[in-house]
């Protein structure tokens, strides 16, 4: 299987009054259409690693390849285009825009590039709402929805542009176990149906166990890399 993300000798140092190195010589690659979890204690460097893979942050040293393309050479606008077309993000907080409805929020990544939503995009949005079980709320303002519904709307938003990669940082961190189970089920279904590569950072073992591969980070280094 071909590798969709590859990190080579990645270091990350935060400079300030005291320089702090949070990642040490990370070498990782993720197969296309795989479902992966990155686990670790708070402060272990897993979110930093995720931000680097998502092109939101840059490594201090080392190289990152997405789809075989070296992203260190890309300017900010090219990176923005790459994120818009190829990477979906889900965070611990949904960051939905409160002035818009669930459907409008989901369409925002599409609007960033295309302005007016095509018929196919509307069908895709409806399919995602259906799959995530939130069709009833698609025209509601996000402020009127529960935490679980908001997070599922954020997942639909991450998937609207058919990204090859979905990066999720503690996506169930604020949710109860029942909702967590539903969201994990949705991730699995999306992974199988659309072939999306999932990389989920979590400290919830229950979530990690549902993936195909668990990478454990400790003190900025890969402690374990288990393929089930």
């Amino acid at each position: 299987m071909s590798s969709i993300i590859e990190l080579k000798n990645v270091d990350k140092i935060y400079t300030g009054a005291v320089d702090t190195q949070v990642l040490f010589d990370i070498n990782l690659s993720f197969d296309s259409s795989s479902c992966n979890a990155i686990v670790g204690e708070s402060g272990s460097g897993k979110s930093t690693l995720l931000n680097i893979m998502g092109t939101l942050d840059k490594p201090t040293r080392g190289e990152v390849f997405i789809n075989g393309i070296k992203i260190g050479d890309m300017d900010k606008n090219k990176l923005a285009e790459l994120r818009n077309e190829s990477i979906g993000f889900v965070f611990q907080f949904h960051y939905l825009l409160p002035e818009f409805t669930a459907l409008e929020n989901v369409l925002i990544p599409y609007w960033i590039k295309n302005r007016v939503a095509s018929k196919e995009t509307m069908e895709k949005a409806n399919e995602l709402f259906e799959m995530l079980g939130i069709t009833r709320w698609k025209n509601s303002l996000v402020t009127k929805m529960s935490g679980g519904q908001q997070q599922r709307t954020a997942i639909a938003r991450a998937l609207i542009n058919n990204p090859k990669i979905l990066i999720a940082d503690e996506p169930t961190g604020n949710l109860d176990s029942e909702t967590t189970n539903k969201i994990c089920g949705s991730f699995r279904e999306i992974n199988q149906r659309f072939g999306t590569t999932f990389i989920v950072v979590t400290h919830d073992r229950q979530v990690a166990e549902k993936t195909d591969r668990i990478i454990e980070i400790r003190d900025g280094k890969i402690e374990k890399d288990v393929l089930k």
């Binding site: 979110s47 931000n51 998502g54 939101l56 942050d57 900010k76 606008n77 923005a80 285009e81 790459l82 994120r83 818009n84 077309e85 993000f89 965070f91 611990q92 907080f93 960051y95 825009l97 925002i108 990544p109 960033i112 590039k113 938003r157 940082d169």
Partner: protein
């Protein structure tokens, strides 16, 4: 909130600007509007001018001159019992004098003079003499010559000094009783733009090139009024500049706070692939749209305030104290300033947004 702020600021700008301009024009109109703005007199020892037809013809070719009237004027008096009332007999063709002093509208009883024997007298003189339309009026010239007139009507120009002293008669009448022959004493003119009176007066002097005449204009005779008007105009500009500066600072602050409040949303939009420039342009667009709506509302509100103010401030006889002059250029400029100020105010938050990094926002949670 921002829209209301802009609307209020622009409405005040329009209200203050148009009110002060209207006030100035009303003041000018009421003080010098119904009087000649340029007067040509003899500069020699003899107060009368001959060959005035040439002067009238040449002045008639000047664009800025709206109306012209020639007058033969002289002092006289009226014997009333044992007192002598000093008066001024002003001879004009009726249509000429009407074009300058608006006499027809000021006639409150009787009709314009027609024959050489008829005259009009003012309200105050009428009350003093206790006379009616059709009564005889005996006027004595300084040389002792007597002229008997019939009163054809009474005018009220709203100025007591004129109402009690001016007797209006035909040009020919005064020329005859004061032995002027064909000569006159003054040429009076009104202007299309009253404020151009001084430059036009200089132009006339140059054009006529005649040392025997002098050209007076209202501006050099009303310097105090002019400096008052200028003071008013400068205060109005200062007020308007302060208002616009406040608007720019207020909108800019509110939009800058919006960037802070919305930093999470901007961060996530950047993570989703919105480019830095596009994220910044949101604030310029927001400033523009807010300005568009706010400035338009401000124009409506400002005009509403102005008409409301005008309707509620009337003299006891129901006439508005200030005559409104709606200057469309000024309204359009104010509207555009509101729009431009609001768009400009979006620049600071746009710069803040440009520098916002999605990873910082996400890391802070």
């Amino acid at each position: 909130m921002i829209i209301i702020g802009i609307a209020i600021a622009i409405s005040i700008q329009i209200f203050v600007g148009l009110l002060i301009n209207s006030l100035q024009k009303t003041l000018v109109d009421r003080t010098i509007g119904n009087s000649p703005q340029i007067t040509i007199l003899s500069s020699t020892d003899i107060s009368t001018m001959r060959d005035w037809e040439i002067l009238v013809r040449e002045m008639g070719e000047i664009d800025q001159i709206k109306t012209l009237a020639v007058s033969a004027t002289a002092s006289a008096f009226i014997e009333d019992g044992n007192r002598n009332l000093p008066i001024i007999v002003r001879g004009f063709n009726f249509d000429d004098v009407d074009s300058i002093y608006n006499i027809r509208d000021s006639l409150y009883e009787g009709r314009p003079y027609q024959s050489v024997r008829e005259v009009l007298i003012g309200k105050d003189l009428r009350e003093d003499l206790e006379v009616d339309v059709g009564d005889k009026l005996v006027v004595k010239t300084p040389e002792g010559k007597e002229a008997i007139f019939i009163i054809s009507g009474f005018y009220d120009l709203g100025v007591a000094s004129i109402n009690e002293s001016w007797i209006l008669a035909n040009l020919e009448t005064t020329q005859r009783i004061f032995n002027f022959g064909n000569r006159i004493t003054s040429i009076e003119a009104t202007m299309t733009d009253v404020f151009a009176a001084d430059t036009t007066a200089r132009e006339i002097e140059k054009l006529l090139d005649n040392d025997d005449i002098k050209v007076n204009n209202w501006k050099e005779q009303n310097e105090e009024l002019l400096s008052g008007l200028e003071g008013q105009r400068i205060s109005s500009i200062v007020i308007q500049v302060v208002i616009i500066a406040s608007v720019v600072i207020a909108i800019s602050s509110v939009l800058a706070i919006t960037v802070l409040q919305k930093s999470k949303e901007i961060g996530i939009l950047k993570a989703m692939g919105i480019k830095d420039l596009a994220a910044s342009l949101i604030f310029i667009y927001e400033g523009f749209l807010v300005g568009l709506v706010g400035a338009t509302l401000g124009v409506i509100l400002g005009l509403g305030l102005l008409y409301g103010f005008n309707a509620s401030t009337t003299s006891p006889d129901g006439v508005a104290i200030v005559d409104l002059y709606i200057e469309y250029d000024f309204i359009l400029t104010s509207w555009f300033i509101g729009l431009a100020a609001s768009t400009f105010a979006g620049i600071l938050p746009a710069r803040k947004s440009l520098k916002l990094s999605p990873v910082d926002v996400i890391r802070e949670g």
